[in-house]
């Protein structure tokens, strides 16, 4: 009996859908004040994306448009699909997405684009169902930038090596290659440690620490380590401090303030580099608004904030836009960043 009631209930619900479904029309052009630009991060409760939301709010304040961030409460591709599905159903005009897993989002983003919604992604250069993908920077340029920082710390001379999470990690190796190329071209007195030019930290702070201790014992002349994984710089810094090598050996690389704070304070680590999720969030919304306005997207595109004022298409791509949006954090400005 109860089963029948449930069935009946379902039937009623379905009929309701059907009755409503007929009233749905095509998308109408709307005035700018009614636009809705939604940014979907990987996980809205993660510090990185909480920071991204600051950028979205800044954009909303600057432009007067309705831009907001809505994401899953956990990093889960299936949950992210659900949030996007909800937003499509709510008739947003633009979706800016940082995919947990680009492959998992292809169908739902395809659906969004079929409905005429503007789709912009970030950190998903192989995404097919997107109009444009924004990358904060070109990997080789970022590597060169880390090298510049390391060279500054090393005083422009000495021997160095590079550290990557895994030798199979594409972006880490591209950064390291960029750094090596930069040193070869701009710093004649800085030389690469030939016997071990690339070491692995396994994306693990403990491993970076052990590896660095091993290196410093084996190569007393080693003066610098160029880190790429965010675990490299803090792990190596710990080894430097423990072995009393402060001011003798230096490290530069990607890092999070939350993990590097003590080393930045003590001066073992002078700079860490990163891209700011706030800027990426702002840039995505800004690009979405430009597309909605029908503006042309071409090389040299200015998204209205430093690092993203001269976007270039990646070679051979008409989708991936690259900026120069890296940032340096040191003792003085680290409190501005909460991740």
């Amino acid at each position: 009996m109860m089963l029948k009631k449930t069935l009946l209930l379902m039937l009623v619900a379905c009929t309701t859908f059907a009755v409503f479904a007929n009233g749905e029309g095509e998308r109408q052009p709307k005035p700018e004040s009614e636009w809705k630009i939604a940014l979907v991060p990987k996980d809205s409760t993660n510090a990185w994306f909480v920071r991204m939301e600051v950028g979205v709010k800044e954009f909303a304040a600057d432009s007067g448009l309705n831009a907001f961030q809505k994401g899953p409460a956990k990093t889960d591709a299936a949950m992210q699909v659900q949030v996007i599905q909800d937003l499509i159903a709510q008739d947003v005009d633009a979706l800016c997405v940082v995919p947990v897993d680009p492959a998992a989002l292809e169908p739902v983003l395809g659906e969004a684009m079929d409905k005429g919604i503007v789709v912009v992604t970030h950190e998903a250069s192989f995404q097919e169902n997107t109009m444009y993908d924004i990358e904060a920077f070109n990997n080789a340029d970022y590597g060169a930038f880390i090298m510049d920082n390391l060279a500054k710390a090393m005083g422009g001379e000495g021997e160095y090596t590079t550290m990557v999470g895994h030798v199979t990690n594409a972006s880490h190796n591209e950064w390291a290659d960029g750094g090596v190329a930069r040193a070869a071209e701009a710093y004649p007195n800085i030389t690469l440690l030939d016997s071990e030019p690339r070491v692995e930290s396994e994306d693990n702070m403990e491993r970076a620490y052990e590896k660095a201790k091993e290196l410093f014992k084996k190569y007393p002349n080693l003066k610098g380590v160029l880190g790429t994984s965010s675990k490299d710089a803090p792990g190596v810094s710990r080894a430097i401090e423990e072995m009393g090598l402060k001011d003798k050996v230096f490290v530069a690389g990607t890092g999070l303030v939350s993990e590097c704070r003590p080393f930045l304070e003590s001066g073992t680590l002078q700079y860490i580099t990163l891209w700011d999720p706030k800027d990426a969030g702002y840039a995505m919304c800004s690009l979405a608004a430009k597309i909605l306005r029908g503006e042309e997207v071409a090389d040299g595109l200015d998204l209205g904030l430093p690092g993203y004022e001269n976007m270039q298409f990646a070679p051979g791509s008409d989708k991936v836009l690259i900026g120069s949006g890296w940032i340096v954090m040191d003792k003085n400005n680290m409190d501005e960043y909460n991740f």
Partner: protein, 364 residues
């Protein structure tokens, strides 16, 4: 147990028969009304209703699986691991057996084959959990936590942690189709699963045995039931349901991966409890679980409609709902028990009494 009175109105009889389901439906209507009133232009839009109907089946079916296990007094925490392992196996099979450009008929037959493979994997996964629980008497919560780790681990080993993509487009198209403009295929599959399991629980001997094992396993054993076998079959059913969820997820994201839906496990337990399934066993209906799934989907989609409500609050709201339900249920059982005791002392209680809110199985 309220004695059914022929003179009562149909509504009153319905309330008396399943007060829990009635409370849930009231709650559903309330949530729907509140969301509809706060966001009429978005929430009541047909596309939003269809979108919600597309979303809940994948975890709703898992919740049904967990619920049957909970009715026996157990739990199945391996549903997500099972779903992903089944989806990955099927995905691998489809990629290997259907080269690009295969004719539609051949692709379709391979897809049917793939579905059978997924269900088999699901059944095997469930059988392993059931075996651990019935043969070694490992507490279900630990046994299935272990198998969940095992299945997820296997899935990671097979895929090296990467998504398996490149499925025949037909699979995703079929799984995402909206029939007649308003009936999404996932919803249809959910209805199918709910009806089959609903009939199984309320009408078949196996269903009655499931309730009996959950009410009192020792009594069931003395009554001559093969408790081991019943538990085994329960977990196999749950595993097969989980694999169906895995297929729905796979169609929706057009790929399979070891950690899709990782957050669904606890959500499904929440749904089961909200739906009136007693974690101690013996109680619960598919109808209750269905209404609970819809309530959670309304809350979830509803919250996504408020641009200023941060997703931080989502867990707070869900946790709040769950605790409210638990407290309400506690007071209602207390109330019922006192009433039953009173009527028993007056000498007109049912012969089996109603102590502790335990109803005879299948007494709907």
């Amino acid at each position: 147990m309220t004695l059914l009175n022929e003179k009562q109105s149909p509504l009153a009889r319905f309330v008396a028969r399943d007060p829990n389901l009635f409370r849930l439906i009231i709650m559903l209507v309330a949530v729907f009304a509140v969301m509809g009133a706060l966001r009429p232009t978005i929430f009541l839009r047909p596309s939003n209703l269809v979108s919600m109907a597309k979303q809940f089946p994948e975890y709703g079916i898992m919740a049904i699986g967990i619920s049957i296990c909970m009715i026996t007094g157990g739990i199945d925490l391996a549903v997500v691991g099972t779903a992903n392992l089944a989806a990955i196996t099927t995905a691998r099979f489809l990629i290997a057996s259907v080269p690009k450009g295969s004719p539609g008929g051949y692709t379709l037959s391979m897809i049917l084959m793939g579905i059978l493979i997924a269900l088999t994997v699901g059944a095997l996964c469930g059988a392993l959990s059931g075996w651990l629980i019935s043969r070694f008497r490992i507490p279900p919560i630990l046994a299935t936590l272990g198998t969940h780790q095992l299945f997820t681990g296997l899935a990671i080993v097979i895929t090296e942690g990467r998504p398996v993509s490149g499925l025949p487009i037909l699979f995703s198209r079929l799984g995402n189709k909206t029939l007649a403009g308003f009936l999404p295929v996932p919803l249809l599959l959910y209805a199918l699963a709910a009806i089959i399991i609903g009939i199984m629980l309320s009408k078949t001997r196996f269903g009655k045995q499931v309730y009996l094992v959950g009410t009192n396993a020792t009594a069931a054993r003395f009554a001559g039931l093969n408790v081991k076998n019943i538990i085994m079959r329960t977990y196999v059913t749950s595993g097969m349901l989980a694999s169906l969820s895995g297929l729905i997820m796979m169609a929706r994201v057009n790929s399979a991966k070891a950690d899709y839906g990782a957050s669904y496990t606890l959500q499904c337990v929440l749904i089961a409890v909200l739906g009136g399934v007693n974690p101690d066993g013996g109680f619960g209906t598919v109808g209750g679980v269905t209404v609970a799934v819809v309530i959670l989907q309304l809350l979830s989609s509803g919250l996504n409609m408020f641009e200023n409500v941060s997703n931080f609050y989502r867990d707070v709201i869900w946790g709040g709902v769950l605790i409210t339900v638990l407290i309400t249920n506690h007071y209602l059982t207390e109330h019922k028990r006192r009433k039953a005791l009173k009527s028993a002392s007056e000498g007109c209680g049912a012969p089996w009494g109603n102590l502790g809110g335990v109803a005879p199985p299948g007494s709907t």
